[in-house]
């Protein structure tokens, strides 16, 4: 793809003058792309043959990549005989064998079953940190905040063609610069309510307000958006009544969509909890981890200190 303006260089070399196949970049796509009529071994060896490497070097690299992705014993299998997870490992092994300086992973796990995703996520991280410890760049794109956090490193948050925030993943998690970043980097999305600070209460709606945490005592009494994560909500006696719109189970957690009047929020609780739709449950919101954004939706107070 051509860029409309700007420059793209790698180590001082103008990348725009270098054809794609010479760029020393390896890419893994969402949809596992392999040569279906080749064996596992040939799939990994193919780009190396095109590069004109000698036979023993190809063999060394292919065997190493196969070992790295844990596909020993599958060398002579045909691609069609493999599961989705195994096919994605072949695609990954092919990129690793190229020993590129730059590895681009475009949502590599999105098409896999959650059980496989769980395993591969862990393997990928270990694998990549062992291969790319000091040299080289790995870019991993994902819509899943959990993947981004687990992958660690530097995070670039994008939305509608714009970079919203960049920095170490933990930093972005603890200090989302805007409401939009807080939405994108949390799954379920961070709960955001507009509220008016009145004394020591955030007034959200008639009959619905939240205590202002002591750490926010310096905030001026005006309009804010308060934010809290799904896991800071508990179903507990003595809480405010909310109606269950739907409860969904994800892995070992239950995601509960709740509503009180016009105000909605999403809670995430540990374990598998069965709730009926339209059932009323008492809910408590833990304000120890409450965020405050100003009326321009910029972060003004994070529970992790350092006010922006």
């Amino acid at each position: 793809m051509q860029i409309n303006s700007g420059s793209l260089s790698n180590g001082g070399v103008d990348f725009l003058q270098v054809p794609v196949w010479k760029r020393n970049v390896a890419m893994v796509y969402q949809q596992f792309i392999n040569y279906p009529h080749f064996t596992v071994y040939k799939n990994i060896a193919f780009p190396l043959r095109k590069q004109g490497l000698d036979r023993s070097e190809i063999d060394r690299r292919v065997r190493r990549a196969i070992e790295q992705v844990g596909l020993q014993g599958f060398e002579e299998r045909r691609i069609q005989a493999l599961s989705g997870g195994q096919q994605q490992r072949v695609a990954l092994a092919r990129s690793l064998a190229k020993s590129s300086q730059i590895l681009l992973l475009d949502e590599p796990l999105v098409n896999l079953d959650y059980k496989l995703r769980e395993t591969l996520r862990e393997e990928l991280k270990t694998l990549i940190s062992s291969q790319f410890n000091a040299e080289g760049i790995v870019v991993y794109s994902s819509t899943d905040p959990l993947e981004a956090m687990q992958f660690g490193g530097d995070l670039i948050v994008m939305d509608e063609g714009r970079i919203l925030q960049q920095g170490p993943a933990v930093e972005v998690f603890e200090h989302p610069a805007t409401c939009r970043v807080a939405e994108i980097t949390n799954d379920p999305s961070m709960n955001l309510w507009t509220a008016q600070l009145d004394g020591d209460r955030f007034r959200v709606a008639p009959g619905l307000d939240l205590p202002r945490p002591e750490r926010m005592r310096d905030l001026a009494p005006t309009d804010y958006t308060v934010g809290f994560r799904a896991n800071d909500i508990r179903i507990e006696e003595g809480g405010l009544d909310f109606e269950v719109e739907l409860s969904e189970i994800a892995g070992s957690e239950t995601i509960i969509h709740l509503r009180r009047g016009e105000k909605r929020m999403i809670a995430r609780v540990e374990g598998v909890v069965s709730l009926q739709m339209q059932q009323t449950v008492p809910v408590k919101i833990n304000t120890d981890w409450l965020y405050a954004f100003n009326s321009n939706q910029h972060l003004v107070h994070s529970p992790f200190g350092r006010t922006n």
Partner: protein
């Protein structure tokens, strides 16, 4: 609508057994999911109920009536497939009415039923539109609607019906399906390989593996008391922690030199049985002391290998009495590696003999 019984059903494809013999009841009005990896026999099970396949052995009863030899068309089963099946040249209204027109239902009755179903599925504003102009999820709603217009349908069978639907809309459709089940009390049987979808949708889930029914239970039963170590692994993320164990006493097992108290009586087990102890990470606490005065608790020494940072939690990966264990802790909980122990309640321990849960 009807209760569906499968008695002594078994099926083979040319000598290869696809379904091992089983007895099973689908209660009238239930909301079920059939869950399992591909090739486990899920689709064979559906096809036997709808009559597309005649089982090698066994009988199928609808409300006690033997319908084993009846053809698909005579069975009053509605099916929704992965990809929407619609009559592209017809309007939405005619698509929904079609099953009733075919059965010579009086006109006024058809109109009433079509409008009611369209209302439930939020299709009313599309009734005059041509069906082939609609989005994939609207088309899938029509496929479903055709199953709902008939009062005599014994069950609606759905084979991965949300595959073609956008993630945002999946949420809406799942909600719709639950509403429909509650409103019409139509038996819904939903086939999927996606654990989350099954756990979210169903009141009861049937887990299948290698042609066998492994467990039938509510989502929380599958989570808390998995029948086999496979279910313990398959349901929940991270998977259940499973440790090799040996019998120590009537209600005690030995895990790598530490004694753990368990609920079931183990005196009947022979030495030859392979024994395992399963504990969900959700039921484990990490503590920096082995002192454990509570008789309902057991402890195992724990050594940390590494800690993975997730969004709102940390996953502590290490070994308990020499065996790999994964423990989820809150993101804000400090973990000190010295003298670390994992503590858990007796009631949350599952004992597996030859991979099968020991009851008690």
């Amino acid at each position: 609508m009807a209760r569906i019984d499968l008695e002594g059903v078994q099926h083979s494809y040319g000598g290869v057994e696809a379904l091992q013999q089983f007895d099973l009841t689908w209660e009238d009005g239930g909301r079920y999911a059939i869950l399992g990896p591909s090739g486990c026999g899920k689709t064979t099970m559906l096809n036997i109920m709808s009559g597309i396949i005649q089982p090698t052995q066994g009988r199928i009863l609808f409300d006690g009536r033997n319908i084993t030899s009846l053809a698909t068309a005579e069975r009053n089963i509605a099916q929704v497939f992965q990809f929407p099946v619609i009559y592209a040249t017809m309007k939405v209204w005619d698509n929904l009415a079609f099953p009733l027109v075919c059965r010579d239902v009086p006109k006024e009755q058809i109109a009433k039923k079509v409008e009611e179903v369209a209302d439930t599925l939020s299709l009313t504003h599309l009734l005059d539109r041509s069906a082939n102009r609609l989005t994939a999820d609207q088309k899938q709603l029509i496929s479903l609607g055709r199953g709902l217009v008939r009062d005599d349908v014994a069950a609606v069978l759905m084979d991965e019906p949300l595959t073609v639907i956008d993630p945002d809309l999946k949420f809406r459709l799942r909600r719709k399906l639950k509403e429909i089940n509650e409103r019409y009390r139509t038996t819904l049987i939903y086939v999927t390989h996606d654990q989350n979808e099954a756990m979210t949708f169903a009141e009861k889930i049937m887990v299948m593996d290698k042609g066998q029914i492994v467990q039938m239970g509510t989502p929380s039963e599958l989570f808390e008391r998995p029948n086999t170590t496979f279910v313990g692994y398959f349901i929940g993320a991270p998977a259940m922690n499973v440790f090799p164990a040996t019998v120590k006493g009537e209600h005690q097992v030995d895990v790598g030199g530490s004694t753990v108290t368990v609920a079931p009586n183990l005196s009947q087990l022979t030495d030859a049985t392979s024994l395992k102890l399963g504990i969900r990470t959700e039921h484990i606490d990490l503590q920096n002391s082995s002192r454990n005065q509570d008789p309902d608790h057991s402890t195992l020494p724990f050594k940390i290998d590494r800690i993975d940072d997730f969004d709102t939690y940390k996953l502590v990966i290490g070994t308990a009495s020499g065996h790999v264990a994964k423990i989820k802790v809150d993101r804000n909980q400090a973990v000190h590696p010295e003298n670390l122990f994992m503590t858990f309640k007796t009631q949350n321990c599952c004992v597996y003999a030859n991979e099968q849960l020991v009851e008690g």
